[in-house]
Symmetry: C2
Subunit: 82 residues, 2 copies
Amino acid sequence: ADGATLYTAKLCQTCHGAEGKAPIMPQYPKLNGQNKEYLLAQMKDIKSGARSNGMAAAMKAMVANVSEEEMAAIADYLSQVK
Amino acid sequence: ADGATLYTAKLCQTCHGAEGKAPIMPQYPKLNGQNKEYLLAQMKDIKSGARSNGMAAAMKAMVANVSEEEMAAIADYLSQVK
């Protein structure tokens, strides 16, 4: 599946807003235009527990249902959003 | 001191590039336009050790020399960079 479809299907927009541009709280990061390697590393680290600070607990529950291949597609998509 | 001056004085650009726009490696995040609350929380969490994943070890050494007041000024500055 493509990253844009997965972004919505995996409910990323629930917290990060449409296209990663409008987080619902300022404690959440904007994602659009971010380096894809960085984005993928954060998703993997939150899933594994290597990153657990701040609001990562909320993210961990969401990313439990996202495979590494899907994470990579989402990261690639977000990195290309202006 | 103002955030833009601190951004350079504290050597943030060494890894994140001018104005936080051009990290030297894709494993580092872009910072321009990011939510200031998120940015401040990450700096504090890396300094305290609450966030230690990925390249945080490199960042921890840098942020050891930055006060919370200075972090807040840097976060405010970066959040306003287009």
